[in-house]
Symmetry: C3
Subunit: 267 residues, 3 copies
């Protein structure tokens, strides 16, 4: 869906706060204190501490599964307390509220009709937020105002150009495309930034470190314990071990080099 943003009351939260402390609960309370009918959904709070690129990846790949009119808040914010800007963006019928540190991917910003504003906190009556918890003191009230329809993105503040995305794009190589492992899920699947659109019909394998991993459609296409690469449900290439953990098996994790390779170019 493209078109203007029309709030539906849903607010999703994506943070590196974890769930062992009450930070997410208090942020939710701050939202409810301003907008009692908000529907708050925890998208994920397990982003690695300060891993802006990982969060940018999930934000771009997840938002469209929520109803149009949702407000997506991402608080991975090493600069909390400094003068970094807060951005509000409307695009594809959704809204995003983030610190300006690379959380918005180029694909999002380039959406037709996308609007990005630098949030003027005074317009929200925010004059003295705490120095350490802007999730509660800044992002919650801004998200509540946008999700309730009380304000629109252009009303948040002046137009703004976001800082470049923290998620590095894949680059072309003489063998195909090179990217990196962006995140590792609970099952030990190694998830890359290589979009399925980079595949060509002749592609049959990936190179991950010193391993050449064959490409299949799904886990059950190989025997238990075998390694495979596949296009996962978020449209990117991942390396998995059927019924096991590829991360443990290969000793690899976030940041590992991965390359889509043409047949016969294995090393």
């Amino acid at each position: 869906m493209t078109g203007p943003f029309s709030a539906c009351g849903v607010i999703t939260l994506l943070t590196d706060f974890g769930l062992s402390d009450p930070f997410v609960g208090v942020m939710t309370g701050a939202i409810l204190s301003r907008y009692r009918a908000a529907r708050v959904v925890d998208l994920c709070h397990g982003i690695q501490a300060q891993a802006i690129g990982e969060a940018a990846f999930w934000l771009e790949r997840c938002y469209s599964w929520f109803p149009p009119g949702s407000v997506h808040v991402a608080v991975i914010d090493p600069g909390v307390g400094s003068a970094r800007r807060i951005l509000a963006a409307a695009l594809h019928g959704h809204c995003f509220v983030v610190p300006d540190n690379g959380l918005l991917s180029p694909g999002l910003i380039a959406a037709p009709g996308a609007t990005v504003a630098s949030v003027d906190l005074l317009r929200f009556g925010i004059t003295a937020p705490s120095a350490t918890f802007h999730g509660r003191d800044v992002f919650a009230p801004v998200a509540a105002a946008l999700a309730s329809g009380a304000v629109t993105v252009p009303e948040c503040g002046p137009d703004a150009e976001p800082l470049p995305c923290a998620l590095r794009p894949p680059r072309r190589t003489d063998r195909g495309f090179a990217g990196e492992i962006v995140t590792v899920d609970r099952f030990g699947n190694l998830i890359s930034n290589l979009d399925a659109s980079l595949l060509v019909p002749s592609t049959t394998a990936l190179q991950l470190g010193e391993h050449v991993v064959p490409l299949h459609r799904t886990y059950s296409d190989v025997r238990s314990g075998a390694l495979l690469a596949l296009v996962n449900a978020f449209g990117v290439l991942e390396v998995a071990e059927r019924d096991g953990s590829a991360a443990r098996r290969l000793g690899l994790g976030r940041g590992a080099h991965i390359e889509l390779i043409a047949p016969g170019t294995e090393r």
Copy 2:
């Protein structure tokens, strides 16, 4: 409550997805995209990866604490992407949506008037789900349709006989009943599949590995640091250490042998 299923809008989610990734959040978004008023409750996402028996145990022991008319979705699904069936079941006024891999216990299926259907995905307009994330692409839309009252279980597809339950039942021994530790909770309590109904008045102890553990009513019946067995709040026998972790103390966990024994038969 027995009787036909009448949807109340509550959907519970039981998975082995964990909470470190956005899978649960996205599944919730997919539900809300189809049924905006759904009340989604996270029953538990900490099931051990692919531990179908553990999930079957909790599903059977937990569902009745939710309002009649709830839809309970369990996604522990090593066969995702293969041809395994999806089941929808209505029983005791509740509804269940699961892969057909042993998640439904005999006690559930045997409920008077229980109805089980093999879900025909085409009836839900699901033609090309991803190969790896049926929680989002299959279970979410089916649960949304059932929880909103848009479809009934018989309308989901043809009648089906579920595969046998993955949770092994206790067996009779010459000393009493033998079972196993099904799950270990955060406190290190060792929770078995031995139902309280297997106790006889003369039972005063359990054998767990080489340990004979006395049976008590509650934790505070013994001094701090002592081991005890008790009937827990889910109606099964568990072994605990007061103010400590029985799992760490005994070095035991899931799968450990446990036996209800008659007095004088300790080994």
Copy 3:
């Protein structure tokens, strides 16, 4: 906000249950079974097992971020199954439901007009709760009744005087004030029970173990990797390492001694 408690339907849950088991989910189900419109928010379930002082700290520092009329349930309850009392309290427009084991801080109890009742379970029809899971069998129905407005705190039972708070207060020393580290957050920040009100204009440092840590306003006031003390968003002093973990760096955690010191009294 002071004044009488007027229920708004929000129930917050603070426990040491963790999220790896279905205990929180089932407790939520028990609430919804009695009060279908309840708005249940997970404040935090990562309190250390049986850490009453840590929970008392967070309860006092977090409740006011929720809407007036919220019911705050804290279940850190080593005495479950024993004869310990259940308390319901109304103060500052909020309601609290806790076991009587030190979860209510002196600051809460001293609120003008605060009312504390010892809950008479028979008035709620609770005659035979399980011995091990009062979150589900006692706290859930009491909270549902209070949050729906069906009962008031004085109707819960006779007036009661809570047991002393498990969170020790700071004490005056010849150098300033001494307290302790109450909790450590996901980022490794060491959070103390020293309230910002104990600071005097001449304070420039804290002593934590053998380390003298300079006081700043926010993380970004120091270079990456530097230690600092600051007043955090909950109004207490915390020790942090910018872009790192102070807990790991210093090898310190819960219970560590921390002291606000006058200039020139470092050791």
